[in-house]
Amino acid sequence: MWQRRAFLKSAGAGFLASLAPRQLLALEANDLVFASSIQTFAGKYGAVLMGERGGVISMIDLPDRGHDITISREAQRGVVFARQPGTFALVFDPFGNEAPQTLTSIEGRHFFGHGVFSPDGRLLYATESDFEAAQGVIGIYDATDDYRRIGEFPTYGTGPHEMLLMPDGTTFVVANGGIETHPDYGRAELNLDTMDPSVVFIDRRDGTLIGQLRLDTGLHQLSIRHMAVDAQNRVWFGCQYKGAPSDSPQLIGYATMDGEIRLIELPLDTLRDLRNYVGSVAASADGNTIAVSSPEGDLLIAIDAENKRPVLVETLRNGCGLAADQSGFVATSGKGEMIGIAGAERSQQQFDFLFDNHMLRLG
């Protein structure tokens, strides 16, 4: 509770600052570009950039499985992060003029698959694990100095997963999934009995903890992993449940910078079809609709952010990647499919590679 009080106390001035949704950047004018990690049919890993109509613009080889991608127009670079517990991040030039640069996590850290640039593109931040201490950190890299690692902030929890920069440009929101892993034990989850997931707001400038929000203690095995920010600056999150598979706790919720955190009530049949697993969360271009996916349940759900009710439920086999386009969402699958949902005007496409969990819209 003290953390929540501390949060409320400091939540006054700074946090209500910018309500304008962050402008996504355009690689080329009047054209949307999407990026995703992929696996080829031959089992090789890479990342692709795709045009609005699904044409592949470029493909980059990765040494191992990638996860999310972030991009900065200011830095003129994109970064693919290794899937946890990977130790590489690949910095690439979306225009293809410069050779990619591989970053390696420092001794005692590995990447978690997500990260963001600072608004001016000068700094890159990545969620990482200090695995000896079982604590999450945000690694800080200087994009103006060959991506030298210049420091780190704590994430005030274990197993940080997705991190986002809030529209104010100075606040990070990080989902601490709560699960302890250690490279000595592969991907084994070491602390399911004592998991302590949280959503934290952190000051980008000095790493100060602004607020830490937890769900009810009865839900301590609900790992908070992926997020998207809506038009009202609410941070929508999707969870993965690590308790008994026959339980069906609610999995979608939102947190606010005023210290509110709650799960929304999905109808039970829809909830069951998520199979205790949300793989990706995205906000629509206007920030009024939230889409979530479950590759376990082959399900995509679009939710009205205002009344918190589903407006669309659609199936996509092994569907996980989600990104807003102008009018709806693009969804991709581990079977190589791309479809449009919730108002997106595009026909189904099949690719000759498999999409990984996340899709990024560059602009």
Binding site: Q39, H67, R83, Q84, G113, H161, G177, I179, H182, D184, Y185, G186, R187, A188, E189, L190, L192, D193, S223, R225, Q240, K242, G243, A244, P245, S246, D247, S248, D269, R272, D273, R275, N276, Y277, G279, P295, E296, R317, N318, G319, C320, G321, S333, G334, K335, L354, F355, D356, N357
Partner: protein
Amino acid sequence: MRIFAAIFAALLLVAPASAQIISPSEMLRSSVTNFIRPQTKAFATRTADLSKAMHALCENGDLTGAQDAFAEAAAAYGRIEFLRVGPLMEDNRSDRILFFPDRKGIGLRQVQQLLAEADLTAATVPGLQQKSVAVQGFGALEFVLFGTGFETLTTPEGAFRCAYGAAIAKNLEEMAAEIAAGWADPEGIAKRLTQPDPSYADYRTTTESLEAIVGLVSHGIEGVRDTRINPFIAKADGKANPKQALFWRSNQTLPMLKANFDGLRRLIELSSVVTDPALAQEVTAAFARADAAIALVTSPVEIAVADPTQATALNDLVASTQDLQRLIGEDLSATLGLSVGFSSLDGD
């Protein structure tokens, strides 16, 4: 000779598989009736035996009987511990039965502290169940029976230690009975798994149920490699860490691995999920390779990791897990039309 044995075993497995085509529903039923139910019941029986043996130890000082019963019960668990669905995953039973890996040695410290303080609340099952998961199961009992000070068990000085050990055994017996009952329940998980229905939260279709079975084996193999073998064998820097091995104190590391592979192999065989003869042959050969590697590791792990022949065998065991993961996680999934696949593999 081992090669001949492997080929012979392969032929045995192929023969029935190629003789008949069995439906996915039959595979599911067979998984439950031929493997899961009998093996969870066997675990319940072995833990009941262990509980009796602990009482005999406390009353008559039969230490060897208790230590043997520990090994039997642990192996019975080793054969089913990969069944990470249903009753094993409820009420934290998996961690309460065996909290491992315990990288920071938290469990050990807690057990030592509890013994030093002679915390009487740990000597009853209800009291024990209120405590940390790490002091409730096999890891704690191994320290009681084989760890520093175990000799006191047969003396008045060890009365508390013995009572605590008996409470752990009783706790294990209770949990094992609950797991067996959970699988035996005709309206429980066995029904949902074998007769999936869109209204169920866990298994909606036959394909999802089959994915669950194949996924359990695939993840089970990965878990054995990542948490039971790799942590203690020599790393790239040449340093092994035998004290990171499960049950090194009781010299049950290899018997436990053997039980793990045995359980995984039996579920694959008894469920008849591998219908393709060529694939069946490869799967059998990979399990045979694992068995052969385990058979070569005859010394306690501390010595085995430093012995070239045994260290090589342990590396070969790791290689067999890689073969098995490819054969079961990829090839078998493909032949069954499952998506134990890319985006849905595990939490990310």
